[in-house]
Symmetry: C2
Subunit: 409 residues, 2 copies
C-alpha cells in the first residue's frame, strides 16, 4: 500500500492483445480516491440482454459492495448493466457508511449511463476501514460515460490495480462450428490471496449468448478449479469478486454443456488466476503443487493447500533448497489422511522421497539445480486412493516482508 | 539449520535458577551427530516409581521416536526410567531406519543405566530425512551414565537446542500445607511451531508423587491451554514431544484435583511455551491474541489462531503498523462465526474498532505508539456469545526469511 515495488520477475512480457467483445465498453478516470496522478476508477457498460454470473469471497466480514453484487447477480437482464470499480479504498468494515457509499455510487452510475440501479455492480479495493469518498467517483461519471470505448480494456485493467506490479489480462477466440466467439477479461490482486476466493477482482466478458443460470453453473464449476486453487499468503480478502458477463453480441447461443466454450472460459480464468500468483507480493518463483493418490479429492486439496501455504515450504523454495522434509511436514500437519510409508514426493521429474524415506534414486545435485528454475512443480502422491488436486502459489521472500511490514499502510 | 542467528531480542535475561528435583539426574555429551564442538545429547535418569505422562504431535508423519514414546507412556513404573534426546537429526521420515535407530538407542540406554527398555523415552530434533547415526550417541552412553548429576538441568536444556537462540528453563516451588513441592523443566523450539502440538520438545520434572493416570489428565488439560496455544509459523513438527515426570521424591502425594500443584505446573508449562514463542524464528514482538464474545470456545480458538497465523497481521506487527483492517480480514476468513457489525477490536487498552467500523474514540497516534512495544495484545470481541480463547505468537520479519530461505539446510 506504500511505495510501489518493481515489476514482478514472474510477470508476462506485456499485456496481451485481447479481442474486442461486442456489447462491452470501458472508461477510466483519475478520481483521486486515494492515489493521485493515476487512473483509479473503471466503468464497464454492458448491452441489454447481458447475462451476468459471479463468485465472491466467503469472508464473514465481506464488504458492502460484495453483499450488493451477490444480491444482484441473476437479476432481470432486459436492460443494460454496468460495472464500476475503484482502487485505493476497499470500503470494507466501514459500518453503515459502507452500504451508503455503495448505494450512492450505484445510483449515480445508473443515472449516468441509463441502466437500472439493480444492474449496477460495484467493487472497491484498497485500504480497509476508511469511509469511501464516493463523491470523488460520482464526480467523474459524466466524463466516463462520454468516453466509453470498446477498446479500453487494458486501461480498465490498469485502473483497478493496488499493490499489483502489472496489469493482468487474458482472452481467447473460440471457433464453434466455424463461428467465432470471443472471451476477454482482466483481474487484479497480489496479496491477501487465498481461497475462497482468491481472485480479488476479476471481470470477464464474452459475446456468446448464454442463459444466466447456465452461465452461473459454468462459472461456479470453473472457479473451483481456477481462482479457488491459488494462494499467495493464505489470507482472504473481504472484497473478492469475479463477474462474468455474456453479452450475446455474437448472436451465437451456447449451453453449459458446450465443451469448446467451457474450455475457452477455463483457459482465460486460469490464465488470470496464474497472473495473480505471478504478482504475489515478493514472488520470485511460481509453484504448482499437485497431489495424487489421496483418499479423496477433498483430502488432496487439503494436502495441496497445506503444502502451498506452509511458510517453511515457501521459504525453502525462495532459498532454492530442495527441502522435501518440509513437504513431509506439511502433509503430516494437514489433518487429511496420509500414511508416512506410502508417501512419495517429486520435484519436477526428480523423485526425492518414496516408501517413507529419501528415494534410493534421489540425486541431490539434480534437485538443487532444478530448484533454480523460476517455475517449479512439487508433486506428492499419497499412495492411498484416487483423489487429486492441483493448486498454485509463489514463494515467500524478503519482498513479501518489505511490502507488508516495512511500509506503513 | 545454518549459521546461528543472534539471540532473540525477546529472550529472558538468563537461564533461571531452578530447584533441584529429587529423583532426577542429567548428563550431556558431545556426540557429533551433526553439530560439532557443542553438546548434542541429553540423558535424564529417573528414580523408581516415577510416573510419566505426555503429549505429542498430531502429525500423520510423526517420527518413530514419537510413536515409541506414545506406546510407552503409562507403562509400569516400578523400575527406573530414562529420557534420551539428541539434536541435529530428527530421525523423522527415515523409513524403517527410524524405528531401528530408536530401538538401538533405547536398548543401549536401558543397558547403560539399568532400566527396562520399555521405560526409555527418546526424541530426536533437527534435520528431517537423514538416517540417525545412532552409534555416535550410543558410544557416549557410558560417559554420560558416569557423569549424571542432579544439578545439570541447564546443560541438558542447552544440549537439545537446534535453531534456538537461548536455552529455555522454568520452575517453581509450591507450598502445600507447609510442605514444599518442586517443579522444573526445559524446552526447545523456535520454528515449525504450531498446534497441535507446539512444544517441539519439553521435559518437566517434579518431586511430587502422583498417580500416572491423574498426571496424564493434568498434562492433557494444561497442554491444551499452554503449549497448544502457541504458534510461530503455523507449521507443525513431526517430532513434538512433551513429557512430565513425577518422581515422588518429596514423599508428598497430590491428586489431579490439587489446585495449588495444578497452578504451579500450569505456570511452568506456560512459561516454557512463551519462551518458545520468544525464540520464534526472527521474532521481534511477542503477541497475545485474545478473543472473547465468540459463539463458543472452539470458535474463539479458530478466530484467535486465524489472527495469530495471518502473515498480513504478523507483518503489520513487525512494521509497528496498527493495521486493524488485517485483523478484521483474519476474523472474516477464519470460517468461525462472526458478525461484522458486532465486532470490536482493541490493541492493548486502545479501542480501534467497534460496531463494524473504526471507533469514534480511535486515536491513531496512540495506537502507533502502542505498536512500538515489544509485547503486544490484540483483543477481539465478537459480540456473539461467551466463547473465549487466548493464544500467543510472534511477528513475521526478515529474520524468519533469513533463517529459513537464505541458508541451505
Amino acid at each position: 500500500m506504500g511505495a510501489t515495488p518493481a515489476k514482478s520477475p514472474l510477470a508476462p512480457a506485456g499485456f496481451p492483445d485481447l479481442p474486442e467483445i461486442g456489447g462491452v465498453e470501458f472508461a477510466i478516470a483519475e478520481a483521486g480516491v486515494r492515489y493521485q496522478g493515476r487512473p483509479d476508477v473503471m466503468l464497464a457498460c454492458l448491452a441489454k440482454g447481458t447475462a451476468i454470473a459471479g463468485a465472491f469471497t466467503q469472508s464473514s466480514t465481506r464488504s458492502a459492495a460484495v453483499l450488493d453484487c451477490q444480491s444482484k447477480v441473476g437479476g432481470d437482464n432486459s436492460q443494460g448493466a454496468a460495472i464500476i470499480v475503484n482502487s485505493g479504498n476497499a470500503n470494507a468494515f466501514t459500518g453503515r457508511h459502507g452500504l451508503d457509499s455503495v448505494n450512492a455510487v450505484t445510483q449515480a452510475v445508473a443515472q449516468a449511463v441509463g441502466v437500472p440501479e439493480g444492474r449496477v455492480f460495484s467493487a472497491s479495493t484498497g485500504v480497509i476501514g476508511e469511509a469511501l469518498p464516493h463523491d470523488k467517483i460520482n464526480d467523474k461519471l459524466t466524463e466516463m460515460a462520454d468516453s466509453l470505448s470498446p477498446g479500453a480494456i487494458e486501461q480498465a485493467a490498469g485502473a483497478i490495480m493496488t499493490t499489483d506490479t502489472f496489469a493482468k489480462g487474458a482472452g481467447t477466440v473460440i471457433d464453434i462450428d466455424g463461428q467465432k466467439l470471443r472471451i476477454a477479461g482482466f483481474a487484479k490482486g497480489s496479496g491477501m490471496i487465498a481461497p475462497d476466493m482468491a481472485t480479488m477482482l476479476a471481470y470477464i466478458f464474452t459475446d456468446a449468448a448464454i442463459d444466466q443460470s447456465e452461465l452461473q453453473n459454468m462459472v461456479s464449476v470453473l472457479n473451483a478449479a481456477t481462482f479457488n486453487c491459488i494462494t499467495v499468503d493464505s489470507d482472504t480478502s473481504t472484497s473478492d469478486t469475479l463477474l462474468v458477463a455474456a453479452t450475446g453480441a455474437s448472436g451465437i447461443r451456447v449451453s453449459e454443456n458446450n465443451v469448446g466454450f467451457m474450455e475457452g472460459l477455463r483457459q482465460v480464468m486460469l490464465d488470470l488466476a496464474h497472473q495473480v500468483v505471478r504478482d504475489g507480493e515478493g514472488a520470485t518463483k511460481f509453484i504448482e503443487v499437485s497431489v495424487t493418490g489421496a483418499a479423496s479429492d477433498e483430502d488432496a486439496r487439503v494436502h495441496a493447500l497445506s503444502v502451498a501455504n506452509s511458510p517453511l515450504v515457501k521459504t525453502a523454495v525462495a532459498g532454492e533448497d530442495p527441502n522435501w522434509g518440509r513437504v513431509v511436514m506439511a502433509i503430516g500437519k494437514s489433518g487429511a489422511r496420509a500414511d508416512r510409508d506410502t508417501l512419495s514426493i517429486r520435484f519436477g521429474d526428480i523423485i526425492v522421497a518414496s516408501d517413507g524415506w529419501v528415494s534410493p534414486d534421489y540425486d541431490e545435485e539434480a534437485a538443487a539445480a532444478y530448484m533454480k528454475n523460476q517455475e517449479l512443480q512439487i508433486h506428492v502422491d499419497l499412495g492411498l486412493g484416487g483423489g487429486t488436486s492441483r493448486v498454485w502459489t509463489c514463494d515467500l521472500t524478503h519482498g513479501y516482508i518489505e511490502i507488508n511490514a516495512d511500509y506503513r499502510s
